[in-house]
């Protein structure tokens, strides 16, 4: 497993055996159709998720709002927003960026295009059915797995098709040397079908007995978060940051270590202490979570060293900000959620707003923002045009970054306060809730900023597509006129 020695031996022979690398522009041209479909639908889902999230938040300002309409009750619109964000935006954009990164690192065309295209369509049908199902009351009742059974079939088949395209692309790579991004990407592609099928089978198809359902639900959510989102996000960050600052990743062994420790221990549970389950389950979970602090710090070191002295690059390169913010949020959210696994901390933070604040920091501040940066980087290359308004990219970044700060910071502080108050039996429950409302209401500002960011992102993509469409149209018209002039 020594990377240097194997590089020295395998590179010449490998390159002689495999055909010449495909030029970058050709890779992008080959991937255009399905990737654009994935990215544009992801942007639409992000906007929908933000709208639903906004409605859910407003319930804390006016509980009676839309109370006559079952579709928009908090218990439906909140999971609908979460699912639209997770499956509609995050996983969809993540899959698109992953297969693009795999094609580029392998210097080969994107393979199995029809399968990827079909998979993307099935995935979107699945998310649409799922979100509508949740709003209509068909939710399964398990967090992050709310989508009803009829929707998950589409999701599963769609995912397999897209992932197959990614794996075949990886297999046909023309550069045999592997980059750390590729390990993360492959592991993430492989991880999801297993955890998803397990959880769906044991919770929805043939539910297990008793509180074990909660253990499986927590296991699934934790794996989806730590491994799928974690690995996909790290694959993207480890690919883009070195590329944008034009120097290799600081340490190859560091990322190897991160890969192994996160895969082994990051996947353990996520079952909070105090759950009505045998005590060894939360104990093992806590142990796994505590071990992950080390790889998370390793990511921090690796990123800091890679970015060292790259200050000027931040000014000329807009995408870099997205990835650096993402790496920072990854470290903070990762350490915070590892710390909450300790019994003494969990006693305070469990069931409070602290947990959603940190989850949102991870999902939005780390994953979604990295995907936004990646899509902003990739789409102009797919279409061979620049964004009509480059400043809108900076605007997206600022809105998203401040949105996350205004969302997570007040909620985290409010959550800790709420936790201490809840553990003081002399304070009436209602008084505690009313005192945390203030923090929640401040966080609405964050929701609003993120909603604006998703709107700017969507408009930006549409603007680019319209521009490309117009150019193609006028070119076609010009060609038409020319032939018309020639024929008589």
């Amino acid at each position: 497993m020594s990377a240097t020695s194997s590089t020295a031996q395998s590179l010449p022979t490998g390159d002689a055996a495999s055909p010449a690398p495909v030029p970058v522009a050709e890779i992008d041209a080959s991937a255009r159709g399905p990737l654009l479909f994935l990215f544009v639908s992801a942007a639409i889902w992000l906007f929908i998720a933000s709208i639903f999230g906004m409605i859910a938040t407003l319930k804390f300002h006016a509980p009676g709002m839309l109370a006559d309409c079952p579709l928009f009750t908090y218990g439906r619109v909140h999971p609908a927003a979460a699912n639209a964000l997770i499956y509609g935006f995050a996983m969809q954009a993540g899959l698109g960026v992953l297969i693009w990164v795999l094609a580029h690192l392998g210097r080969t065309h994107l393979h199995l295009l029809p399968a990827i295209g079909l998979g993307a369509k099935l995935w979107n049908i699945g998310v649409t059915l799922g979100v509508i199902g949740i709003l209509c009351g068909d939710s399964t009742g398990y967090e992050w797995l709310e989508m009803p059974r009829y929707a998950t079939v589409f999701l599963f088949v769609g995912y397999i098709l897209i992932a197959l395209g990614g794996v075949v692309t990886f297999h046909n790579r023309r550069v045999s040397q592997l980059n750390s991004s590729q390990w993360f990407a492959l592991a993430a592609l492989f991880w999801f079908p297993w955890i998803f099928a397990s959880a769906e089978f044991l919770l929805v198809a043939h539910p297990v007995r008793g509180a074990l359902q909660a253990a499986i639900g927590d296991w699934y959510a934790n794996n989806l978060k730590n491994i799928w989102f974690g690995f996909t996000g790290l694959a993207v960050i480890f690919y883009f940051i070195p590329k944008l600052v034009e120097r290799p990743l600081h340490s190859h062994y560091n990322s190897l270590f991160v890969f192994w420790t996160l895969a082994l221990f990051g996947s353990w549970g996520g079952i909070p202490p105090g759950t009505p389950l045998p005590a060894w389950l939360p104990a093992m979970s806590t142990m796994g979570a505590v071990v992950t602090i080390v790889p998370i710090l390793a990511v921090a070191v690796n990123m800091c060293r890679t970015l060292e002295g790259a200050g000027p690059k931040f000014r000329e390169c807009r995408a870099l900000k997205f990835f650096s913010f993402g790496a920072m949020a990854y470290v903070i959210a990762g350490i915070a959620s590892a710390v909450t696994a300790f019994g003494d901390v969990s006693k305070i933070t469990n069931f409070t707003w602290f947990i959603p604040a940190i989850t949102q920091l991870f999902l939005y501040g780390f994953f979604a923002i990295s995907m936004l940066g990646a899509v902003y980087y990739i789409v102009p290359r797919l279409l061979q045009v620049e964004f009509p308004k480059p400043n809108a990219i900076c605007l997206t970044f600022l809105l998203t970054a401040f949105g996350i700060l205004f969302y997570s910071v007040p909620l985290a502080i409010g959550g800790i306060k709420q936790g201490f108050a809840l553990n003081d039996p002399n304070r009436a429950f209602l008084d505690v809730m009313q005192s945390t409302l203030l923090f929640f209401r401040i966080s609405t500002l964050g929701d609003l900023l993120m909603l604006l960011a998703s709107l700017v992102f969507l408009l930006n993509l549409f603007g680019l597509l319209v521009q490309v469409g117009r150019t193609a149209y006028s070119a076609a018209m010009a060609a038409n006129t020319r032939t018309a002039e020639v024929t008589p």
């Binding site: 497993m1 395998s10 319930k59 804390f60 509980p63 109370a67 006559d68 309409c69 079952p70 009750t73 908090y74 218990g75 999971p79 009351g137 939710s139 399964t140 009742g141 398990y142 990886f170 045999s176 592997l178 590729q182 390990w183 492959l186 991880w191 297993w194 955890i195 397990s198 007995r209 008793g210 509180a211 074990l212 359902q213 909660a214 253990a215 499986i216 296991w219 794996n223 491994i227 890969f259 895969a263 996947s267 353990w268 105090g274 759950t275 009505p276 389950l277 045998p278 019994g343 006693k347 409070t352 947990i355 809840l422 553990n423 003081d424 039996p425 009436a428 429950f429 209602l430 809730m433």
Partner: protein
């Protein structure tokens, strides 16, 4: 790690380990748990819910009540769950796996925007108060931040001189003049489910604390600091006074 199959094997190994430990092993330990005897009364526990309460469980799931209410009481000393009167066992251990044996789905919940409901059927036994609470939470709990579930009720105009139905919400409390508010089947089912939520049976795994009486704490601290229950029994019914 310079080959694809190697990477795949690494991921496979790690995931298999996690799956064996967190999915398979708990199944082997508790997957075949059966009804047990209540240590005091020797009656079987838990009992499968009656039809209406089982429908109510689905109403609870469909409307996502579990996003604000937990159904688990943590053990004594871990948070103030017991001191708040949410537990109904006079022991150190509160909620256990056995309590959820017949729940489909199990909705432990992850957020306490509202109080824990694991023993709401012990704390509140009046169906009418629960219905009123669903119709407008601020009637029964001034200052509550729970949204009203008016769509679980039907608002009907009364004919001139018509008396409100016996099923309607108490005329003296909630209702604008000339109307009656009838709970739908869903509302009744949901309330039946809430009334069925009680995990108070003493079991082998929840031994009593020495010297403690077999009763939950007399005073629950869910009520707001000032007003207590604002209704008298007469106010909660449309039946003529006896």
């Amino acid at each position: 790690m310079n080959s694809g199959p190697m990477t795949f094997l690494a991921a496979f190994f790690a995931l298999a380990l996690s799956w064996l430990g967190f999915v398979l092993a708990p199944q082997l330990q508790l997957g075949n748990q059966q009804q047990v005897e209540n240590r005091d009364t020797a009656s079987p526990y838990p009992v499968m819910r009656a039809g209406l309460a089982r429908q109510g469980e689905q109403v609870y799931r469909a409307n996502g009540c579990n996003y604000c209410h937990t159904e688990q009481v943590r053990y004594k000393g871990f948070g103030a769950d017991v001191e708040r009167g949410w537990g109904a066992r006079n022991g150190f251990v509160q909620s256990v796996n056995e309590d959820y044996l017949y729940d489909r789905p199990v909705m432990l919940g992850s957020q306490r925007v509202g109080p824990d409901l694991a023993n709401i059927g012990v704390r509140q036994t009046n169906e009418n108060i629960l219905l009123l609470h669903l119709y407008d939470p601020r009637l029964t709990m001034p200052g509550s931040i729970m949204p009203p579930y008016r769509y679980l009720f039907e608002k009907r105009k009364l004919m001139f001189g018509q008396k409100p139905s016996v099923d309607a919400l108490p005329q003296s409390v909630a209702v604008p003049a000339g109307y009656e508010i009838i709970p739908t089947d869903d509302a009744r089912a949901l309330v039946a489910y809430l009334l069925s939520l009680r995990s108070d049976a003493p079991l082998f795994e929840t031994p009593p604390l020495p010297g403690a009486t077999n009763k939950p704490p007399a005073q629950a601290t869910n009520a707001p600091t000032k007003a207590g229950a604002p209704f008298t029994a007469e106010q909660l019914t449309n039946l003529p006074p006896k």
